[in-house]
Amino acid sequence: MDSFLRTVADQTVNGLVIGNIYALTAVGLALIFGVSNLINFAHGSVYLIGAYVGWVAITWLHWPFVVTLVAVALSCAAIGLVIERVGLRDLQGSARIAPLLSTIGLSFAFDQIVQLAFTANPQSFASPLPDTRWQVGGVTIGTLDVLIAAISLGVAAALFAFLRFTRLGWALRATAQDRDAAQQMGVDVNRVQQVTFALASALGGLAGLLVGLYFNTVYPTMSFQAGLKGFAANLLGGLGNVPGTVVGGLVLGLIESYGVAVLSSTYRNLFAFLVLIVVLVWRPRGMFSRERTLPPETLTGTFISNSRPVRLPPILLAAVTAFAVIIPVVLPDPYILQVLTNAWLLGLVALSVTLVTGTTGQTSLGQAGFMAIGAYSSALLTLRAGWPFELALAAAAGISAVVGTMLVLPAFRLRAHYVAIATLGIGEIVNQAILNWDSLTNGVLGLVNIPPASLFGIELVTPAGLYWGALALLTLVYLVQSRLLRSPLGRTWRALRDDDVAARAYGINLNRYKALAFSVSAAAAGLAGAFTAHMYTYINHETFTSTTSVLALTTAILGGLGNLAGAIAGSVVLTVLPELLRSWVDYRYLLYGIALLVLIRYRPQGLLGTD
């Protein structure tokens, strides 16, 4: 066999093996979406827990492999029940996006617990299986390849039989198709939902174990990537479509594998997210559905609960602002100033997310992408083109607005859950582009020696200077945004949040107004990113990740979505609180996760109320 064909054959086997694991991960997401109409962001954490339980069982306890499989499935099923209970059932009757956000909170908490228990370092995971390799027509296949294929195909067959031939399987399908009607046939839908979560999570955990074995390593951050791959495979096959999702996983595995062979392995994730966006735009119901419209969603899926926002009197706002301005004079402690500078920058991003998510109703999990565009634009303009900081900063806001809006454009026809996933994917694409566009971004190494921020020739290098710089940007964006919200444009934005169908019936061009909202939002996030770049004087592809996006959204929710003063208050709380509890710094994300869960459950309107 010539070497080209051999490569193709090897990559096909490779892609199918990876694809099987994606399928195993994604099938759980499909089941949960089908039954509960929820995109379970904690699914990646279940996968992570499965990997670590397996690692502990094999490496520490030396359990036999079959026992390990059972232990992983059972413990992850238990985690699934927790997710169902805390993330979903307790939230019945709240806004539709609430369970999605609470699964984000749960995943923060779970991931951090794993990291606290086993450190952030990757652990080596030696396979206990005999290392036999077979040559089949010039292709090498190992024991693990066979095992992975056997487990996922076996699971797929068992799942098919379960859904098609068992009473509970019928109940599950009926619940997925029409929950109320299923109840009126006597189906206990809560029980069906529990079974679904347990089953889905057991499968997700097994996938995590198999991946750990396949790459001989487990590490805490594998959670997030796995979740994203699962969404991609699931979307490819159609949300809630179980057989479609299996094929979606295999297709995704093959695309990645061939892509990596043609280009390089750093492109692996880029393919997954490009596929995700292409499918969302081309066939939002998955590759097996010819329909190009999304199923109708009765609520536009915002997190807006009816509440009366707390209106701060202007005199108080002015006093607080004045106090913030003089802090460096009265409290010239560099540590405090640094913490507060971070709070102002987070506040800037929270303002940007509260505009698109709170005011316009487009849940964005991609703000970090806009920050990264702003940061790299400004850094490159000063570094390579020699522009002065002020000009570069302004240009960065503009570039972020234009590029960011163009990237989000394909997501405009989507709603609710789909917008959240699409923006998450867009953020990841920006990240992957930065990683791979070496000639422009310097790839993994990042950009160093970025000139510090300056104003009229005076460099802002002292903590006080940086503090005032960040505060000035925040105040500027706050004033612009509150002016916009009081204008007719602001009213239109709220109209398309509250009822996009009615807004359209009034002749409002939705896309134009969404584009306007996203461009203002991306500009603000771009400013935050650019300022951060000049403050650190060093950035790389890991400076702005999806975790930042999720944190920004959490902040905006904490303050009260759509509420500008709330967004800033939220960022002060989330930045200062972990610092006050100094010993809690290791638990930071656990804290964020719990804060998110508690808020959604007990005060969904946020600290200052939604606006």
């Binding site: 009473r167 019928w170 109940a171 399908r173 009926a174 198709q177 029409d178 109320d180 009607a181 299923a182 109840q183 009126q184 046939m185 006597g186 189906v187 206990d188």
Partner: protein, 249 residues
């Protein structure tokens, strides 16, 4: 008050108050359905008809009052438990499982039954009653016409061998041909011993097949009596049949 039920009623709704948030829907609602009857509940939009159905099915919990069914107090029961007690439901807008076949839809109606042999017999019997469904047995429920879906919904309810079937607007959105067929069918089922409680907006048609009727207005029963009497009643004529014009036969 006309009380025409002999013996204990199969379904007895007593002094129900229902609220959606702060808005009160039912004000001391009372009605009863005797064994073997066809009883219809009439009323305009927002009179509380559909909510009455939801209260019986356990989908909405009343704040006060009692619902008794088949000798048990079912107030506040979960829906599956009410169904297990012998209640069948033909929901508003039919609510067929669109991706399940006609056969699977029918068998879902027998979800709570354990007697497999009898279920197969019932399936045959129901398919004899609905020859149209037999032709389409392996097609997906979602591709049936509105009238066929209504037949399927009724057949599905029958598969549970219920003592009482609650039907929410069974003629809504059907062609005139199917309206007649559905009404005939309801009478046939009733003659076979199934008690029927139906909510209808089409008072004229409903009263032609019902034994008794109740008229609901703003959450209160304002009129009740034998169907024939209601059909002649000036009030019902005014409210639902477009003035004093004689009902079309």
């Amino acid at each position: 008050m006309t009380q025409t039920i002999a013996g204990e009623p199969l379904l007895d709704i007593d002094a129900i108050d229902t609220y959606y948030g702060a808005m009160q829907v039912h004000f001391g609602l009372r009605l009863a359905v005797g064994v073997g009857e066809i009883v219809c509940l009439l009323g305009g939009n927002a009179s509380g008809k559909s909510t009455t159905m939801k209260v019986i099915l356990g989908l909405v919990r009343p704040r006060a009052g009692r619902v008794r069914f088949a000798g048990a107090d079912i107030t506040g029961w979960e829906t599956p438990r009410v169904i297990a007690r012998g209640l069948g439901s033909v929901p508003e807008a039919r609510r067929i499982f669109p991706a399940m076949t006609v056969r699977e839809n029918l068998l879902m109606g027998a979800y709570l039954r354990q007697d497999r042999a009898a279920v197969s017999e019932d399936l045959e019997r129901i398919l004899d009653l609905f020859p149209r469904l037999r032709e389409r047995l392996s097609q997906r429920g979602g591709v049936l016409s509105g009238g066929e879906q209504q037949m399927l919904a009724i057949g599905r309810a029958l598969m549970g061998r219920p003592r009482l079937i609650c039907m929410d607007e069974p003629t809504m959105g059907l062609s005139p041909l199917y309206v007649d067929r559905v009404l005939e069918l309801i009478q046939t089922i009733n003659r076979q011993g199934v008690t029927i409680f139906m909510v209808e907006q089409n008072a004229n048609l409903a009263l032609q097949i019902a034994h008794r009727g109740y008229v609901l207005q703003n959450g209160r029963i304002v009129l009740e009596g034998a169907a024939a009497a209601l059909l002649r009643s000036a009030e019902v004529q005014d409210a639902y049949l477009g003035g004093s014009a004689a009902p079309a036969a």
